[in-house]
Symmetry: C2
Subunit: 265 residues, 2 copies
């Protein structure tokens, strides 16, 4: 167990892990530029990619965390690590490259993400926009930082004045309420990475994000979004189950109320 008993201790962990992630981001960017990537498909899905760098990054982060806590429990995107079966105690979430398709095809808009939860509640999250060199870190107790800069809490905003980000795949197959949300907002965006979509919320470029997210897609973003005053809930108003995939809406309070009503009607 890691000692999270005081704000000071939590800030120490934030600083330590932020250093690891900055180093790993610099190395990832360098390797992306130098080497031919080894790309494979997962689950027979041509859009679900994994590279050698996803796997290497995950191993580096697991080793670092295990050096702090030999009994650390994990929920990781890539195979090779036993998955935590309950949210009791401390759980680490790792997405070693979020937006792997962007990483491979676009060489922009991908992220390294990590989070630490205790007894089901977010303590700290880290999202590093690797190509842009921007690390978002912190949580509900510490506040949320972009690199060294403390971010302001959000103000409430209605859907018709807002920019929303949606999963393109779910929008285009007609899943509800993606199209209605996109049409009622002032504008909508499709970006292809959960981590990068979250960062747009943190800096106030967007006010809502709707997608079906795996635990490692959601964990860091939830910790940071809740730290800034966003509501992070399933479409039926329940809280996300951090061991399963969730159709989750991260949004201002006003947008949450409007979308919950939209789904009911």
């Amino acid at each position: 167990m890691i000692d999270l008993s005081s704000l000071e201790k939590i800030k120490e962990i934030d600083a330590l892990v932020s250093g690891w992630i900055k180093d790993l981001a610099a190395q990832t960017k360098k390797e992306r530029a130098q080497h031919a990537l080894k790309v494979s498909n997962k689950d027979g899905d041509r859009r679900n990619l994994v590279t050698n760098i996803d796997r290497d990054n995950q191993k580096v982060l697991i080793d670092k965390i295990s050096s702090l806590d030999a009994n650390a429990r994990f929920v990781c995107e890539e195979a090779g690590e036993a998955r935590a079966q309950s949210m009791d105690g401390q759980v680490w979430f790792i997405d070693p490259i979020d937006g792997t398709l962007n990483f491979v095809l676009e060489n922009r808009d991908y992220a390294i993400m990590m989070a630490l939860y205790e007894d089901g509640e977010p303590v700290l999250g880290w999202i590093c926009d690797v190509p842009a060199g921007r690390l978002f870190h912190g949580g509900p107790r510490t506040g949320v930082y972009e690199n060294e800069h403390l971010l302001e809490k959000i103000s409430d905003k209605a859907l018709s004045d807002s920019v929303v980000i949606v999963s393109g795949r779910r929008l285009v197959v007609g899943e509800k309420p993606y199209s209605a949300l996109a049409q009622r907002a002032c504008a909508f965006r499709v970006l292809g990475s959960a981590g990068i979509s979250f960062t747009r919320l943190f800096v106030g470029s967007a006010q809502a994000y709707l997608s079906k997210l795996s635990p490692w897609d959601l964990a860091a973003g939830r910790a940071l979004a809740e730290g800034l005053g966003y509501q992070v809930k399933n479409l039926d108003g329940t809280r996300p189950n951090m061991l399963l995939s969730n159709s989750v809406l991260i949004a201002t309070s006003s947008i949450h109320r409007e979308v919950v009503k939209m789904v009911k009607d």
Copy 2:
């Protein structure tokens, strides 16, 4: 008339105008940070915005061009300037802020765009991603540059391996063939600015862009895209009319063939 009779003369104009746009971009970024924007709606459309900075930038650019050529003819986005009625001779296109909604709501992903055409053919284009400080400039004769860096011509790529960018508004109302294109591509993006969408094509982060574009949305991007080897055509295979709006596909040759077939079927 501006002397465009040699490559050297064209490069001189490129360098001169690039300097104007860099200065204007720096000023625009500063004004966006300092002042409250004065935002109005155009045509009673809540999503069609104009600000004091759009109007000021257009005036600055018209004055600069007019100092080079007192008889210069223009096609500009904002009101206040007589619009060229034919593409004979030289025509300047100005979009003083492309992506005004992004400019106002997101404070990212907006551009200043200009182009110079002669007898209907693109000579030079400029797209400046203002927040990122990236100026794309050049044309079919000079080659295309990102700041000082000459960009490589594109290689052909099929739709199923490509990232495509589409107009979100046209996708979400079910206009054809937006949804089919988005579904057949490897991934699709919605970014909210024509200029920024074009820049993704230039650096190889995307391979196709489909939207209905006004002349000032298209002119610079067409000059640069054709300079890099992209096909710029209407969905029926004809060339765009530079005095009207066009449903235009900017894409690799393979994607163009596939989409033209898709539209016919």
